[in-house]
């Protein structure tokens, strides 16, 4: 029964996923391609590419698409594949949700205790470093192109970066508006 298996596999992926979407991709690949053979490696690569170019958390995108394709590949009709897609996505969510809810209740109750506050007092500066590191790591060829690959694309990328940085920081342009503007810019420029 593919649906029961999807539920078990994706619940497992959800709870063993530390480190967000990208870490989840390798877990999904391992379970869905290597262990259960629901998808081929090429199919999975396509799904990852689409998950990255659609809105929303990559883990959810990938789970939805993988659930859908797995059910189709097992020979079920398309309407039941929709069920598989929704099932896979929800299976990934429910265990972390319960865990996070428990933590959330604890935090709301003890947020002002001395120990919790001193834990956060050290964590907060660390988070700033974490986000800075994320931004640094994203300044990659993948996101900005490179001088060797295409000087034009590289310069445009840097200009867009500066525009978005100054726009949100100094002029408080809404991030959503910024994303739409830069998407239109990309469409017109390239």
């Amino acid at each position: 029964m593919i649906f029961l298996k999807l539920f078990i596999v994706f619940s497992k992926i959800g709870i063993f996923n530390f480190g967000g979407g990208y870490a989840m991709l390798s877990l999904i690949q391992n379970e869905v391609v290597e262990k259960n053979h629901w998808l081929t490696n090429a199919e999975f690569t396509d799904i990852v590419a689409i998950s990255q170019t659609t809105p929303g958390p990559i883990g959810i995108n990938c789970a939805t698409y993988t659930g859908y394709t797995s059910v189709i590949n097992e020979g079920y009709p398309a309407w039941s594949a929709i069920l598989g897609a929704v099932l896979a996505s929800l299976s990934i969510l429910w265990l972390p949700f319960i865990l996070m809810l428990t933590i959330s209740k604890f935090l709301l109750k003890h947020h002002n205790s001395y120990i919790v506050q001193s834990v956060f007092r050290v964590m907060r500066p660390a988070i700033v470093g974490l986000i800075a590191a994320a931004a640094l790591l994203l300044m990659s060829e993948e996101n900005f192109s490179s001088w060797d690959e295409s000087p034009f694309a590289f310069i445009v990328s840097i200009l867009i970066f500066c525009f978005a940085f100054v726009g949100t920081r100094l002029y408080k342009i809404h991030p959503i508006l910024m994303i739409i503007l830069c998407g239109i810019a990309g469409l017109l420029i390239y």
């Binding site: 959800g14 530390f18 967000g20 979407g21 989840m24 396509d46 689409i50 659609t54 809105p55 929303g56 958390p57 959810i60 398309a78 929709i82 897609a85 929704v86 996505s89 969510l93 265990l95 972390p96 949700f97 865990l99 996070m100 809810l101 933590i103 209740k105 935090l107 709301l108 002002n112 120990i115 506050q117 834990v119 956060f120 050290v122 964590m123 907060r124 500066p125 660390a126 988070i127 700033v128 470093g129 974490l130 986000i131 800075a132 590191a133 994320a134 931004a135 994203l138 192109s145 990328s157 970066f161 940085f165 959503i176 994303i179 830069c182 998407g183 239109i184 990309g186 420029i189 390239y190």
Partner: protein, 189 residues
């Protein structure tokens, strides 16, 4: 504020975050901060960072973990469910549509063009709040080493952010334990 918040509002805000998060993970942080902290003021800047740390160190997807907590804070368990569904639903619907009807989406030249414009912007959106966060985190000369070392370990040595958060948490716990009897009558804030 909390009294006026409805489930519909919660759902709308979080689905907007889900819908406009391109690139996953940290790309969601500036959006959520703008919607939830700056505009709606459902949480303060510090609390937002606290929950960011917790969401990062907890299994599951970052954006969903944050939504669960914020929803729970405002409207209890049901609020948590509504907020999480808000983040997840745009994803599920869009992917289903692509899987069913637009399989050619992948190689689409216009999508590729849009993305070439959006990607550098997303990096800027992630980088920009670092400065305001540094202020909320009360970074000063004495604790400046914490973000610098964290950033270096992750970006240059490939250490997983989870270890950084856990180490910071343990460090803060020990520090709190050592100093607690001196400060029992003067808790922080």
């Amino acid at each position: 504020m909390t009294e006026q918040t409805t489930y519909l509002q919660l759902f709308t805000i979080f689905s907007r975050v889900g819908l406009f998060t391109l690139g996953g993970g940290y790309a969601m942080v500036p959006l959520m901060e703008k919607e939830v902290v700056t505009d709606k003021q459902w949480l303060g800047h510090e609390e937002f960072m606290d929950i960011l740390a917790v969401a990062q160190a907890t299994p599951g997807l970052f954006a969903l973990n944050m939504a669960s907590h914020i929803g729970n804070k405002l409207k209890g368990v049901r609020g948590g469910i509504v907020a999480s569904m808000g983040v997840a639903l745009p994803s599920i619907i869009i992917i289903l549509l692509i899987a069913m009807f637009f399989h050619a989406f992948k190689g689409n030249i216009y999508i590729e063009k849009i993305f070439r414009g959006v990607r550098p912007a997303v990096v800027a959106l992630i980088a920009a709040p670092c400065f305001s966060m540094a202020k909320s985190a009360r970074i000063n000369r004495r604790n400046l080493w914490i973000p610098v070392v964290s950033c270096l370990l992750i970006a240059a040595f490939g250490v997983s952010p989870i270890w950084i958060i856990l180490a910071a948490g343990v460090g803060g716990f020990i520090y709190g334990r050592i100093t607690s009897h001196h400060n029992e009558e003067h808790p922080i804030r």
